[in-house]
Subunit: 235 residues, 2 copies
DNA sequence: CGGAAAATTGATGCTTTTCAACGTATGTGG
DNA sequence: CCACATACGTTGAAAAGCATCAATTTTCCG
């Protein structure tokens, strides 16, 4: 059976209804709140690329890494989904990404049939889904710009600041950042090797911008400086 | 007044209705086919980031470059839109990208009010819009993977092959590729400098994979070899 | 034909990767 | 409870790939 550590990411609980990171239709959230929970152990997959699409998921606790792989095995993380985020939105017949829990995770599962039924009956529901996908599109574009144009230091600073702003939106401390994923996940997200990720964390620490506890908790010391660094102040 | 060179990209005409590059709802195409034409000179913008969104556009002839810029001026081309492609899809209030014609271009302009009216009245229309946005999302993700993970040679080979496949879909010769944009545009799309783009073209030519005419027309000589190159055969 | 913009080619330098070693945390079984 | 195994993270030195700077050539269009 699945062993779910209940103490992971407790801060995420209750966040998504009042303050969804991606503004999602109230009606989707209504239906999701009644959808059954599923526990997923760290490293296990919620779904894989090419799978017939069966559900739409909302992360409750934990984190999910959405990624693609090239034929030769190179991996690109498209995005991370945290508490409140919906993944696999859309009505295509197959999954187009892999979704792997980076830590022990719980998701709510809404059957695709329910979603498509709602969308067919209620134009406003379909519009809200469009809106959510539009936000997702916007996020991927921003990430594309960041990863292609920015230096390693700028990318990592940006990554931390995006998480910080998410904390603000969810009513958590914007200066304390939990990283519920490995350096490999972060590297594959930012297009860097784990060595460069590690070196860059060390560099930001050396500059007095952040502190690091056990590798997984980052404390922002100089928020202004980190913002300047993200925008290319002597990267 | 606008001077439109009618001889640009004549092959695109008539393609999009029968064979849309992005499968778009028949109803959108129906409405677009009756929407007024607008001519745009090379280098002029269709719209800019932050503009209030007024229309949805379908490229008829020519090509449009969708891009974003960082505060310090670094530019990332998100995508190119060619004959048949729809840009600015979605119902957000503001444009989130810049859209610049790379060559003399004609677009059909469907007022946003018409689009949102349709979407509100007809759930199937909204679903089709979702589908189109889903395809767009998928394309951006694929591009992200390509640009972040692949080498310069792999990126350029992939770029050519994507255009080749588009030609196939539109009933044109997949081995003859028109590049209706500058090396700067290609570089900003692939995350490379113009020098690297140029050198890489020369390299592919030297390997006997392609031929180049006047810089803007590429002929694929060894399709299999180009595919192998795109997937990392000794890049 | 002439001038400007775009593209190509060459030489050099920097950022990040690669390869390698070492350190640290976690969990298991003796 | 401690030794050990294993996964993860950090640090260092060398190398690769692409960017930058600079000069030249080609193309385009009046």
């Amino acid at each position: 059976m699945l062993m779910i550590r209940e103490d992971y990411n407790v801060h995420d609980r209750g966040c998504f209804v009042a303050n969804p990171p991606v503004p999602t239709p109230a009606s989707i959230n209504d239906h999701l709140s009644r959808a059954p929970l599923r526990g997923i152990e760290a490293k296990d997959h919620v779904f894989s690329e090419g799978d017939p699409k069966s559900h739409v998921y909302q992360v409750v606790t934990g984190a999910v890494c959405l990624y693609k792989v090239l034929p030769d095995g190179r991996r690109q993380v498209i995005d991370f989904a945290y508490g409140g985020d919906i993944i696999s939105l859309g009505l295509g017949r197959f999954e187009t990404c892999n979704a792997q829990a980076t830590v022990a995770t719980r998701v709510r599962c809404l059957p695709l049939a329910a979603l498509s039924g709602l969308a067919r009956r209620d134009p406003m529901f379909a519009l809200r889904m469009c809106e959510a996908m539009s936000d997702e599109l916007s996020a991927v574009r921003d990430h594309l710009v960041c990863v292609v144009q920015r230096s390693a230091t700028e990318r990592l600073a940006t990554f931390l600041l995006v998480l910080s702003r998410r904390n603000t939106r969810c009513g958590r401390d914007p200066l304390t950042i939990e990283l519920p994923m490995t350096r490999t996940d972060i590297g594959d997200f930012l297009g860097l090797t784990i060595e460069t990720v590690s070196r860059t964390f060390t560099k930001l620490k050396g500059l007095g911008l952040i502190e690091i506890n056990q590798g997984t908790t980052i404390r922002i010391i100089d928020n202004e400086g980190l913002n300047a660094m993200a925008d290319g102040a002597a990267g």
